[in-house]
């Protein structure tokens, strides 16, 4: 469970406030879209959950642990509970698909046996087993995002955080990725996804949290994208 309690975030070198007095709760197994115009504060929320940055005020709880009070050396272990995917995939260009996923498991100290078992497994979950030996540049955008997703899932995260994962993909490919998300969520992983993709949000009918100028303006289960103007 993730809980934001009166969270305010102001970046040191920024004039405006990125997030102001935001409170919300996300239960285990939920699928949540974060929507709102550019600069609204969506990425900031994901960064606060990962402790890539820390709050100015308030608290962020993850399974009852106050993430904002975590000592620096605990941060890696916090991040092992979550998988992350980004708009720009962030794969290692000089490594194959297999090695990119393997890398994530190496980092957390998985044994060779676990790696041999898990990498093909997670690659087939995203439907890429047959391209394990290819390099990222030999893959389409959708395929690269699947690799990134496989990497994020390799260590069985409790939460999947996605920051505009379909931003660089065409609508058809984007929907295919979302199908995988849906499947992952069905297996119990909590998903938090920041997005501008109106069609995806509208079709999937998940919980929608809308942020405008750092303020939480809407929190609706089975909601639609409904940008900007409030009725």
């Amino acid at each position: 469970m993730i809980e934001f309690v009166n969270v305010t975030k102001q970046f040191e070198d920024a004039g405006n406030i990125a997030l102001e007095n935001a409170s919300f709760k996300i239960e285990n197994g939920e699928f949540v879209f974060l929507v709102g115009s550019s600069g609204a504060g969506k990425t900031t929320i994901t960064k606060l959950i990962m402790r890539e940055t820390n709050v100015s005020e308030g608290q962020v709880f993850l399974d009852g642990i106050d993430v904002t009070a975590l000592p620096d050396k605990e941060i890696p272990f916090l991040r092992r509970k979550m998988g992350v995917v980004f708009q720009d995939f962030r794969l290692l260009e000089d490594r194959t698909v297999y090695e990119n996923v393997e890398f994530a498991m190496r980092v957390v100290g998985a044994s060779r046996r676990e790696i041999r078992k898990r990498v093909p497994e997670v690659l087939s979950e995203v439907g890429l087993n047959y391209k394990a030996k290819m390099y990222p540049r030999q893959l389409s955008g959708g395929e690269q995002q699947r690799v990134a997703l496989a990497r994020a899932l390799a260590n069985h995260p409790l939460i999947l955080i996605a920051d505009e994962p379909t931003g660089n993909l065409n609508p058809k490919t984007a929907m295919e990725i979302m199908d995988i998300f849906e499947e992952i969520n069905r297996m119990g992983t909590t998903i938090i996804m920041a997005t501008h993709a109106k069609d995806i949000v509208d079709v999937m009918k998940k919980r929608v949290i809308e942020i405008q100028d750092g303020h939480l303006v809407r929190d609706e289960v089975g909601g639609e994208y409904l940008e900007a103007v409030q009725v």
Binding site: M50, P76, R90, L92, F103, A104, V108, G109
Partner: protein
């Protein structure tokens, strides 16, 4: 750290070294050069030390006693000398011994010149004195001169002073050079590693998102520095070993026997250890420095 993790770190480090091959070779070369200069000064210091020791052994003090002193008094003076501070060893040379030495060695072939001296020995009894610390020669000579019936005390203070001042200067200079070289080498290697780190910022960033600990990220880079430093040390050792070997061979051909240089097998282990320690230290410290600020993602 688990062995599998270490093996992984080590293979990552090796990849780093080859990935930016030219920079690695450049810094390996520079570190080797620094170590070679360091080695030259180390060898110089060791030899100056050894020569100083050799000169010290040659630098005894000669104490002459008034010619008409009785034998008992001569023995007594010997005891007084032994009690003087800083005196290590005392040997008596009677006037008879001195005369004999003069006849047999100094005037060989011209013994007639000394005819008649057996009856009227012109030499005086003397003591040869070896000191503990030749740097305190002056004070000791002053105390010895105060003993009654001592005619004069002769020492090779000038030679001693020259040798001591040269060896002191060489030692100080060597230490300064070593410190400068150490700093230079650390800066160089930290720049190489910084470049690797910069090239792999994306990778480090991804590692952090996945949940890699700082140590896990740092180890391959530190090992990279270590490998470069170590290889630099090996290269430098080969050069210095070969160079000193050639020098000894050259000097042996000169028939020069005022003093001896330290043998190559006496100095090689010292140089090897010095280089490996310094090389690795340079590598590890250099990369640790360059890693510090990059770890905050």
């Amino acid at each position: 750290m688990k062995l599998s993790k270490f093996k992984y770190s080590f293979s990552e480090a090796k990849k780093n070294v080859t990935r930016n091959g030219l920079m690695s070779i450049a810094s390996l070369f520079t570190i080797a050069c620094c170590l070679i200069i360091l080695g030259v000064f180390a060898i110089l210091s060791v030899n100056v030390n050894s020569i100083t020791e050799q000169v010290k052994d040659q630098c005894e003090i000669q104490l002459y006693i008034n010619t008409d002193t009785s034998e008992e008094r001569v023995t007594q003076i010997g005891q007084e000398i032994e009690k003087t501070e800083n005196v290590k060893q005392v040997t008596l040379f009677t006037k008879e011994q001195t005369l004999e030495y003069a006849i047999n060695d100094m005037f060989e072939g011209n013994e007639t010149m000394l005819e008649g001296f057996e009856e009227d020995n012109p030499f005086s009894d003397s003591y040869k004195i070896v000191l503990n610390d030749i740097e305190k020669t002056k004070e000791t000579v002053e105390s010895l001169e105060k003993i009654a019936d001592v005619e004069k005390v002769v020492n090779k203070q000038d030679v001693v002073n020259v040798v001591l001042s040269i060896s002191g200067a060489v030692k100080k200079f060597s230490i300064v050079i070593m410190i400068i070289l150490l700093i230079v080498a650390i800066v160089i290697i930290s720049n190489t590693v910084k470049l690797t780190v910069f090239n792999r910022k994306k990778e480090i960033n991804i590692m952090k998102y996945i949940g890699a600990t700082d140590r896990f990220i740092r180890v391959p880079f530190v090992l990279e520095g270590f490998i470069i430093g170590f290889l630099g040390a090996v290269a430098a050792f080969l050069v210095v070993f070969w160079g000193y070997f050639a020098l000894l061979k050259y000097i042996a051909g000169l028939n020069f026997d005022l003093f001896e240089l330290v043998g190559i097998w006496d100095i090689a282990p010292f140089i090897a250890i010095l280089f490996v320690v310094f090389g690795s230290l340079i590598g590890v410290v250099g990369s640790a420095i360059s890693m510090r600020k990059y770890l905050h993602v």
